[in-house]
Amino acid sequence: MSTIVLSSLHIVLPLLAAPLLPGIINRTKAILAGRRGQPVLQGYFDLLKLVRKGAVYSRTTTWLFRAGPIVNLVTIAMGLLLVPFGGSKALFGFDGDLILFAYLLGLGRFFVVAAALDTGSSFEGMGASREVTFSMLAEPTLFIGLFALSRLSGSMSLSGILYSTGVTGWSVGAPVLVSGAFFMIYLSENARIPVDDPATHLELTMIHEVMVLDHGGPDFALVSYGAALKLWLLGMLLVGVFSPNLAEAPLWFREGYALLGMFVLSVGVGVVESLMARVRLLKVPQLLIGAGALSVLAVILVLE
């Protein structure tokens, strides 16, 4: 019984705490740039403000435009049912859940892209086009990496794969390679530097931000909340890969490890964004294919 309570808590926690992550990233960037920066809780303030607003819709749009942010948010929230946190089993951990996980994100992406195209704007079309291209390149990397970890851990479920490859795996090195690959996917899927710049001003160069140009009010609140939740969800995946074997550890240590991992990851993203410029759009595929190569190397190590 207690495991179910714990797993349920691991779903409630991200739903409440996810807007902190963009706050931590922004704070890190501000500190590194020598500014004070916005409060860490700014994400919550923005959401509250947006939720209370009315809405302005483009005349071109249809119900699909309104459905996009909802479906995206719900699919990401569904992902929380599948990814374990801190080595405890996820609420719906089962053999093959990693496939459902990837395809749920795919469903969300389908609707975000369709909602962008619903506006009939060239700029949003451009963003949508880039989004499908980059995620198409990221998807095989994700699966190859998970395949390597699955072979290493002998499990077909995310709950068995994550937080378990540590001791035996580190000596082989595959989890390190997969962590590197997944970090690239994490940055790309969450639209961070070096793939995309969430703070950019020019529509022509945006990827993710441009797709939601026409969303406002409560719709944009759903979009922002979804983005924060996605940071948490994919962060959970990455922290779980880059982890020692926590099977024997006490509960407080596992929880603490995962929470600390999320914090360090967010600070890391802030550091990356402060140190790097985004790469040219044409170079992004090379970056993602490089990540794929890391995953393939991991598989080769695992297959021997």
């Binding site: 719900v74 469903l107 892209v113 499908v132 198409m136 998807e139 077909m156």
Partner: protein, 658 residues
């Protein structure tokens, strides 16, 4: 008993087809006779096939037939029954859809003939799956090819329909010729009945022949070249039938032949997996580069046949390496994807047909904004798109999930071969999945969203009620099979047992254990649907009492944007087609802006099929040159031909006397 019902259904189909031909003078009467007969037959056949599949029984019947080597041997087992179910189920909406679709052709074309060939096509496909004798099988196969050929040529006036049907005819007969060899080799012991076939040591050769012969119908790369020609040329409901069901007859043939060939060699599995990966990725890549909706859908059939072949290949590898879970998951995924592809591809072709019928064009870049103008057609196309991308909660996900699971079992298994196969399968499925999302967001976005790009697309209305109902049948089936996937798989267990050469009990246990995760998938899917509905409700309450306004789309301050300025289909996929241009070889014709005050500029892209351009065209041209040597034999003079016949007879006579 069930076999008699099926025979009666076939008889009803043939009779109503002939009757429709007789009353062809009146298009209305011809349509009514054929459609009511076909619907009755489909319902009868559906009932009988469901009885066979649920009872797992095997029904056999044999009548003497005066053709050498032939016997009128019919049988129906679970494998036949699955194909019969998709045939009869998809035929119902197809026939319904055909009624309003063909009505506009009524004054110019012979609808009686069109309906006759439709009935004949359905009947011959049923015969193909029932036949248990090689001669009967080949005759049915030929009837199927010929009747579909006449349906492809329905719009005889259009030159592209004529050239497409010619390509189709040639491809179908090259395949049929190989099948002839296959069956002659299988029946070397004298009898051409299926249950007396002997492999006699050359199983490998037979397997290759079967892949070539049946693969050309199924659309394996590089034998797929006829699909992107024939599917767009045929009337849309016929495309749905051809793509949803007829190409699956090739898959049926492969399944059936595998049951003759005994224990598989590992290289069979590798070969099929390789074919699957190539067909899957090339199919979706070429689909991305297309401008014509139906041509794009045809390439997606190649992609989905690739996924089926991947499942089949993984299954064979599982069998040959001795891993039963991989075998049942691979075969289960393949056969389940056959069913699912029939449903969503049928739906997509019908809704694309409804769209093309109303707007008069299939060029994506002339369309746009149809979700507002044709809400039903567009929403049903959306259902089909989500299903074909393999996204939950619809049916495409369930079958791809099984194929993925076969790969995952390889990852945890101890056998090196299945591990590599599993990795190859999983990573290419992931790539195909990503590309399919790109492709269908493109189609749906460009055709149904945004603003109309031409007058055609602006002033239209939704499809007729009959069309809408027929699309809804398939759309509802996609959702139902997606949500009830575990039960659908349970119904397929007898089929999996047949393909995997495994006793039913063992197969049942293996399938039940390996597909248990589907129950959890279903519960997550149900929660997903529930939460989405709740969120929609919540959000609509959120906006109550607030100011909701409409305005123009944000255009970065540009004053007068026009619909032509929207992102186009080729631009949308350019980053991807650019990455793969070595394979696609897209041709660009550019008219650059010229001078200080340029008036006009244009760009046009065209992606021909490389296999047709680089493989078949040279081969066919070479054959023509080679055979041109004999051209002097042809004079068109009847006397000389009579002389040829006489000489032949004399030669034969002397040969016999010797």
């Amino acid at each position: 008993m069930s076999l008699e019902i099926l025979l009666a259904a076939i008889a009803v189909l043939l009779l109503s087809g002939v009757a429709s031909l007789i009353v062809r003078r009146s298009p209305g009467a011809a349509t009514f006779v054929a459609v009511s007969g076909a619907l009755l037959a489909c319902l009868m056949g559906l009932v009988a096939a469901v009885i066979v599949l649920s009872g797992g029984g095997y029904d056999y019947l044999e009548w003497a037939w005066s053709i050498p080597g032939g016997s009128f041997a019919l049988g129906v087992d679970a494998l036949s029954a699955v194909f019969l179910i998709i045939l009869f189920f998809v035929s119902i909406p197809v026939c319904l859809f055909g009624v309003p679709y063909l009505r506009t052709y009524g004054s110019r074309q012979n609808l009686g003939a069109a309906w006759f060939f439709t009935c004949l096509l359905i009947a011959s496909m049923a015969m193909v799956v029932l036949a248990r004798n090689a001669v009967l099988f080949l005759v049915s196969w030929e009837l199927m090819s010929v009747s579909s050929f006449f349906l492809v040529t329905f719009e005889k006036g259009k030159p592209e329909a004529r050239s497409a049907s010619l390509i189709y005819l040639v491809a179908a007969h090259i395949g049929a010729a190989l099948l002839l060899v296959l069956f002659l080799l299988l029946g070397r012991d004298g009898s051409l009945d299926f249950d007396q076939f002997s492999v006699a040591g050359n199983a490998g050769l037979l397997f290759i022949l079967c892949l070539l012969g049946f693969g050309s119908k199924a659309g394996f790369v590089p034998m797929h070249v006829w699909l992107p020609e024939a599917h767009p040329a045929a009337p849309s409901h016929i495309s749905a039938l051809m793509s949803g069901v007829m190409i699956k007859m090739g898959i049926y043939g492969i399944f059936r032949t595998i049951t003759f060939l005994g224990n598989p060699q590992p290289w069979w599995g590798w070969l099929l997996l390789g074919i699957g990966v190539t067909s899957g990725t090339l199919g979706v890549l070429f689909a991305l580069a297309q401008h014509d909706v139906k041509r794009l859908l045809a390439y997606h059939s190649v992609e989905n046949i690739g996924i089926i072949a991947m499942g089949l290949g993984l299954g064979l590898l599982g069998l040959s390496y001795g891993s039963l879970p991989i075998a049942v998951l691979g075969f289960g995924g393949a056969i389940f994807h056959v069913v699912n592809h029939a449903l969503f591809k049928g739906l997509l072709f019908l809704s694309a047909g409804a769209m093309a019928h109303t707007t008069g064009t299939r060029e994506m870049d002339k369309l746009g904004g149809l979700l507002k103008r044709m809400p039903w057609t567009a929403s049903l196309f959306l259902v089909g798109s989500v299903a074909i991308c393999g996204l939950p909660p619809l049916n495409g996900f369930a079958s791809e999930f099984l194929v993925y699971m076969a790969g995952l079992y390889g990852s945890t298994g101890t056998i090196g071969g299945t591990a590599v196969a599993g990795l190859v399968g999983m990573s290419s499925l992931a790539l195909i999945g990503g590309l399919a999302i790109a492709c269908f967001t493109k189609v749906f976005g460009v055709v149904f969203l945004g603003e109309p790009r031409s007058v055609n697309a602006g002033d239209v209305h939704d499809a007729s009620p009959t069309m809408t109902v027929s699309m809804m049948i398939l759309g509802a089936a996609c959702l139902a099979v997606g949500l009830l996937a575990p039960f659908a798989v349970k119904a397929l267990i007898p089929v999996i047992a047949i393909i995997a050469h495994t006793p039913l009990g063992i197969a049942r246990e293996a399938v039940t254990r390996a597909t248990a995760p589907l129950y959890t998938v279903t519960s997550v899917s149900l929660i997903l649907v529930g939460v989405i509905l709740a969120a929609v409700l919540l959000r609509s309450m959120l906006l109550r009492g607030r100011i909701v306004r409409t305005a123009g789309t944000w255009d970065c301050g540009y004053a007068a944007p026009s619909a032509r300025m929207q992102y186009t289909a080729p631009s949308f996929v350019l980053p991807i087609t650019g990455l793969f241009n070595r394979v696609l070889k897209t041709r660009r014709h550019r008219e650059r802006p010229d001078g200080l005050f340029p008036t006009a500029a244009a760009i046009e892209t065209h992606t021909p099929d490389i296999f047709q351009e680089r493989l078949f065209r040279p081969i066919l041209a070479g054959t023509e040159r080679l055979l041109g040597v004999f051209r002097w034999l042809q004079h068109g003079n009847v006397h000389i031909y009579v002389l040829y016949i006489l000489i032949t007879l004399l030669v034969l006579m002397f040969w016999k006397m010797r």
